[in-house]
């Protein structure tokens, strides 16, 4: 009897905790922000959050109503991310979802998008599966794997110091890594770039000690490495490779992903000489970019990163689309997103009406010692080449 009472009491308490939250204020337009704030990529998630917050602060209102951002931590775990997305939509009544890091998380949310029935704009996934995935799923920000591969292959051909090398391909073992590796290998072969291992190496994401892989690369006698790693691992790998003297022996590193600025700072000199295509670096010179960098640094006291700028531009595209749609209906916003464009720090970013994914210009960068700069950065990504959106594709 007492047990039953106790249990009913517990149930009652739980319900009491639940019910007050049901009252939902109608006034602001709520946008759900899904970013990783814990786990290995938390720093990137934080920068994404900053970018979106900055956009919201600049934009201020949409449809005459204030923008309210509700931020949830995905922990880079798909099931948690889906639960959080459900919470943002069902409980908090968010009209759109933005953010995400990792293809797995992005795809898991997309799988549930029919149920959630809100537009979902990803600013940080590279998988090519996002092309024409779902009428409510969009990408604005971060080059997709196919675009990166084009950028890197074009970059390698354009640069005498990268051309005519034999490349060893090593990727992180998950869908993005596989996709990135395969795209690069296919394109490289078409363009006459030599690939040492077409059945590329797949390293577990948790790999900390890279010595076995480095020994393997040493044993292969290549003079170039193409790597597709989660960004915070790039300096780790570069540093360990440098410890074994790879870079000193003239081996060049080309990366499928752009490392974050704090990661580069941590890696220091070992990160010099990593090449890679990306859509932005603070070395990009145009008035919008220059102003944005300073504003961002002023506000968050951290070196402006590409994760932040993608999310900023993505958020701007979303807010403008809501404005254009004239209401917060999911379908209306989605229709407005198709074909929308925004002139931001890395030029015009247009969301293709054909496949819901963005097209924009990009750059090839090399990391090296930074010149004097307001951010106090010691390492930076120097812009070597610029590519037009049409060059990167995919064709529409």
């Amino acid at each position: 009897m007492r047990k039953v009472l106790k249990i009913s009491l517990c149930v009652a308490i739980v319900f009491l905790l639940v019910i007050p939250q049901l009252a939902v204020a109608e006034d602001p337009v709520k946008i759900g922000v899904l970013v990783p704030l814990t786990g290995i990529v938390a720093q990137g998630g934080l920068e994404m959050k900053y970018g979106i917050e900055m956009a919201a602060a600049e934009k201020g209102t949409v449809l005459g109503r204030p923008i309210e951002l509700l931020v949830e931590d995905t922990q880079v775990k798909p099931p948690i991310a889906v639960t959080k997305a459900e919470k943002l939509v069902y409980k908090d009544d968010c009209k759109a979802l933005i953010g995400v890091f990792s293809s797995g998380v992005g795809l898991a949310i997309s799988k549930n998008i029919d149920k959630l029935n809100v537009p979902f704009l990803s600013t940080h996934v590279m998988t090519t599966k996002f092309y024409s995935l779902h009428p409510l799923v969009f990408r604005s920000g971060q080059l997709a794997n196919d675009q990166t591969a084009v950028g890197n292959v074009k970059g390698i051909i354009a640069r005498p110091d990268l051309k005519d090398r034999n490349y060893y391909v090593i990727v992180h073992d998950y869908s993005w890594g596989h996709d990135a590796g395969e795209r690069f290998i296919a394109l490289a072969k078409e363009n006459g770039i030599k690939i040492y291992n077409e059945d590329y190496d797949k390293a577990p994401i948790k790999t900390k000690d890279w010595s076995s892989y480095i020994s393997k690369i040493k044993a292969s006698g290549v003079d170039g490495i193409y790597m597709a790693f989660i960004t915070n691992v790039i300096p780790v790998f570069a540093k360990q490779a440098a410890d074994f003297g790879l870079q000193a022996q003239g081996i060049k590193l080309v990366s499928a992903a752009a490392p974050g600025p704090l990661e580069l700072e941590a890696g220091g000199e070992a990160c010099y000489g990593i090449f890679g295509a990306s859509d932005w670096s603070w070395d990009v010179n145009n008035p919008i970019s220059d102003k944005w960098e300073l504003d961002f640094f002023e506000k968050y006291k951290t070196i402006p990163s590409d994760a932040a700028v993608h999310s900023y531009v993505g958020a701007m595209n979303l807010f403008n689309a809501i404005e254009k749609a004239g209401n917060t209906d999911a379908k209306a916003i989605a229709d407005a997103l198709r074909g929308i464009s925004y002139d931001g720090p890395y030029g015009t970013v247009r969301i293709s009406a054909k496949d819901n994914c963005m097209r924009n210009d990009a750059v090839l960068t090399e990391t090296m010692a930074a010149p004097d700069n307001p951010f106090g950065a010691k390492v930076y990504m120097k812009v070597l080449e610029t590519f037009k959106a049409e060059e990167l594709g995919p064709p529409e």
Binding site: D173, K208, D209, S211, S215, N232, D243, E263
Partner: protein, 291 residues
């Protein structure tokens, strides 16, 4: 590169990897052997060691000075944990201490993240250690060889301590017949404290030497905890010599697996453990041989 050079590379890599596993696992085993507590927060102490080392070196100290200070700090953290959290639980069943230290692991990892942030850290090494040394045709990083030397020194020192000093002999006795030791007038509390301080200090040493080998990030302790479990379960719980064999075995198997089949390296290690335990349920050397 020649085959010999590659073989030398692999051999050295396995020893370096096995060495780090060994120091962490021995620390865990000492704590278990002497106080019968399986400290699941041991991996976090390893991470604390690495971060402490990073902070000390970043603040301008020489790496070798930091190498001496880090274990003292890690040992001190171990002391606080033992007194505040583990000691009150000593009388309760093993399940509670396991769960308690599991919680402690999450707590410490969270604290590490809050203190040092998420981005990876690197320990700056003295210039000479950044060089490579040519051995039989391969260029091998000097600091990895230094790491190997440090591992050897730590292990020899530990062996001498346990076999040659009075205190060490008492500790060994305490692991098998605690009643006897308390009869001789030694307070078992001090033995427990000593075990935690020594074990944690070893985790700290492992942390600072693993720092330059890998990356320092808040999750570094997790993987290490699992690996050191595999080591002590294969070697035999509480068996120090078993840990030595198991650590080297796993270092070799993991390195070879990463070199030749890449993808399934860790699966191979776990499979090997399952097979060994199916035939020797108490590990290679059996349970509780504290020597």
């Amino acid at each position: 590169m020649t085959g010999i050079a590659t073989a030398v590379d692999i051999a050295l890599n396995s020893l370096v990897l096995g060495g780090v596993f060994l120091i962490v696992a021995i620390g865990l085993n000492i704590i278990y052997g002497l106080s019968r507590v399986m400290n699941l927060a041991h991996g976090s102490l390893f991470a604390i060691g690495a971060y402490t080392g990073y902070t000390l070196v970043a603040s301008g100290l020489n790496f070798f000075v930091a190498l001496l200070i880090t274990p003292i700090i890690a040992g001190f953290v171990g002391l606080i944990l033992e007194r505040m959290i583990i000691a009150p639980m000593r009388k309760r069943s093993m399940i509670y201490t396991l769960i308690l230290t599991y919680g402690l692991m999450f707590f410490l990892d969270g604290m590490i993240k809050q203190t040092w942030g998420n981005e990876p850290r690197f320990i700056e090494l003295p210039i000479f250690m950044g060089e490579t040394l040519s051995i039989l045709g391969t260029h091998y990083p000097v600091f990895r060889l230094v790491t190997l030397a440090i591992t050897a020194v730590v292990m020899i020192a530990l062996m001498l301590f346990l076999n040659k000093t009075r205190l060490g002999i008492i500790l060994r006795a305490a692991s098998t017949i605690p009643e006897m030791v308390s009869c001789l007038g030694f307070n078992m509390n001090y033995v427990h404290i000593g075990a935690f301080v020594l074990g944690s200090a070893l985790a700290g040493v492992a942390g600072i030497i693993a720092g330059p080998l890998t990356t320092i990030d808040p999750l570094m302790g997790h993987e290490m905890l699992i690996s050191s479990f595999v080591v002590i379960v294969i070697g035999g719980l509480g068996s120090l010599r078993g840990a030595v064999y198991a650590a080297i075995l796993i270092g070799v198997v993991q390195t070879l697996a990463e070199f030749f089949i890449t993808d399934l390296a860790m699966v191979i290690v776990y499979m090997m453990m399952a097979v060994i335990l199916a035939f020797r349920p108490l590990g290679l050397l059996g349970e509780g041989k504290f020597e």
